[in-house]
């Protein structure tokens, strides 16, 4: 079961059993955002408070597999209180961890991304690295992050 131990690290199961920042925020001022994986039925709901370029508060809801819910829980803990620019860097760093390099698709220089992500501390999120060995589960791990990215884009639009 070594592959499974890589996928379901203890910290992931801990976040799944006891998700952080679970709840709701009043809308407005918060934004409510939802994301779905239509094929598996997983659902992530985010409430996002952004004030003066800082994610002042975040709450999460939804249901789904341990990977999608744990990733969202860890994400919420990692971004709370952080400036939006830093959160965007974290999104890119996490997607890079999942072997998703969107800037490469946009034709940006690969070394620029490496420079930017140099020194970004993923902390507990690195526990999700094992997901890469299970390609069908990558979309579970990234669901919450895509919702977050969409939320930030809407805030700044």
């Amino acid at each position: 079961m070594s592959g499974l131990q890589d996928l379901y690290r203890e910290i992931i199961l801990d976040h799944y059993r006891a998700p952080r920042n679970r709840g709701e925020l009043p809308v407005p001022p918060a934004q409510k955002l939802e994301g779905f994986n239509p094929l598996c039925g997983d659902e992530v709901v985010l409430w996002l408070d952004v004030e003066d370029g800082v994610v002042t508060d975040v709450k999460t809801g939804g249901q789904g597999c341990s990977i999608s819910q744990a990733s969202t829980s860890m994400m919420s803990a990692a971004i709370k209180g952080k400036p939006v620019a830093e959160v965007r860097t974290l999104i890119r760093a996490f997607k890079a961890l999942m072997s998703i390099h969107e800037s490469k698709l946009e034709g940006a220089d690969e070394t620029d991304l490496a420079d930017e992500l140099e020194g970004v501390r993923l902390g507990d999120l690195e526990a999700l690295q094992g997901v890469v060995k299970f390609p069908v589960r990558i979309k579970c791990a990234t669901l919450g992050w895509n919702v977050l990215q969409q939320g930030l884009d809407e805030t700044e639009a």
Partner: protein
Amino acid sequence: MIRDVTTEGFSTNDIPWKFEAGTPAIVEAVGMGAAVDYLEAIGMDAVREHERALTEYTLGALRDRFGDRLHLYGPANADDRGGAISFLFDGIHAHDVSQVVDEEGVCVRAGHHCAKPLMRVLGIPATTRASFGVYNDRADADALVDALVKAESFFSL
């Protein structure tokens, strides 16, 4: 599909031929014929009885092993159902269960099975589903039960 093609353009054939482009499904039709011959040689009554008996055996084994911890969906009596069994553990997502049993060499389907309205009525996000055919036997059912024991202990709180 076409009636005529020139370097300047093309004209289409009449309905229904204009919608029947490419090579007809010859290989598929031959394969279908072989499958029908195979099943007829066994006899559909024997196919049905094999699936019924195996489903009955598996339902009993799942009930004995897991009791109320495992929810079984559909009629309790194998006479009233086909060869597929949908189930769900309390507190363990269907996809997480399928991931562990996959590692044990047991292939199941997990998700809403293209039946989201039914999932809503049942009040659950997804189930895991094992299906039996003529090529399965009791050893396969036992392997499923053993794999589910591992899944339950892996995710036990």
